[in-house]
Amino acid sequence: MDIFGDIPWYIYFAAMILKVLVAFVFVLLTVAYATYAERKLIGFMQVRIGPNRTGPIGLLQPIADGIKLFFKEEIIPAQASKFAFVLAPLVALVPAFISFAVIPFGDSIQIAGYKFPLQIAAYADKAGTVYDLNIGVLYILAMASLGVYGIVLAGWSSNSKYSLLGGLRASAQMISYELAAGLAIVCVFMVSQSLSLQAIVADQSGLFGWYIFRNPFLFVAGIIFFICSLAEINRTPFDLPEAETELVSGFCTEYSSMKYAMFFMAEYANMVTVCAVMTTLFLGGWHGPLPSVLNFIAKVYVLMFVCMWIRATYPRYRYDQLMKLGWKVFLPITLFLIMGNAIWMTLFK
């Protein structure tokens, strides 16, 4: 078993299983309580109370919702393509979860003389050198580009007009904004000189080490990345695919029970992932005054709050405005940002 370097294989395995469990439970719990937090927050912002019946101040609401959805009937429309119809929720949810595998959610910890980096796809050898997937940034982009299939499949396989329209809109929107988001990230690894997320986080210690404060081009890139990511995961104000007023529920119109919940979970899991990526790439990752993991979680939650706040504030875009924003504004701007960043960094080295 020399493939695991010089650490004993049982330690490697134990650390791996523990990290997988922790990350999975963290994402799952955050997803569950993000639905509650969002309903509560938007409730307050609209001078309502929000869920308050199940448990103290409605805290058991997500659990009640989950149990209810388990016992609901699964309806598969008669003319649907069964295989694709069942596969779609899975395809929508899995990329959202597995993007999390390359995100360092804390500083490396030392236990019994061994060093464990807090990142799923990473390990350290006995000398303490941390190895991680050295294309972490590209891995995130790759997973983001797969998210589109869940929605296309759901829209196509339902054999319903609303679903098809919702699915199509969503896919065109996602691929348009994926471009701008990918190009905005380029500015980050021009500074970091590495595609590994461990290296990117290590480079951002101190408040003014955060990439978003490094230079004006990175600042703009960070904001564009966040907006594009919101559009890519179909959050308000870019939630055209499920525009209730025109498309009933968009691509998931025909879904019921757990399958419907899967799309809902995918939306929130994507939100967690996007906020985690934003934190890692632009906001210093786990660096900060608190213990490293808490910094990371705090930053992610603040960003998620911003997402919810945006939802309560902005009206929905029109489709032609949305495509115009993606192709005529963000795409050229990100290309200029890359050039500008290169020139800035050559001048002020």
Partner: protein, 167 residues
Amino acid sequence: METLFFLIVAAIAVICSLMVVTNKNPINSALSLIMTFFCLATLYVMLEAPFMAAIQVIVYAGAIMVLIVFVIMLLNIKSEAGRRTSHALFMGISVGLLLLVQTWYLLVKSSLSSVRGTVDSAMISKVGHTELIGKSLFTDFLLPFEITSILLLVAIVGAVVLSKKKL
């Protein structure tokens, strides 16, 4: 353990690519093709070419397959049933066999298997795969790179010209 893992991934890749050609429903074929690309990406990572793996997923699975799925939806292709003739089957099998023999010949008889470049595993882990590609692309393969930009420009123009009646 690595060999076992390789065998599993390779088996999934072969099964999925068989499903691409045998599936009656075109969307299911497209899905199998995406899965095949995934397995290929995994194999690239195993061969210490992580950048290729990422590009395989981003460009092939993420972009080209979206277009193919769109085309299937655009043309509203129905599942093809009983359209295959024995003629096509015969030709397919003979071309397949020919390619198999050719590949085997190349692998065993020619010097292809014995050519070794300057890049090895130690160099990749020291410099990084993306960096190595970058350096050679921008020094030795500069002309092809610039021609690519023209090619991409032509692709944009071509797509617009084909789709618009009036320019």
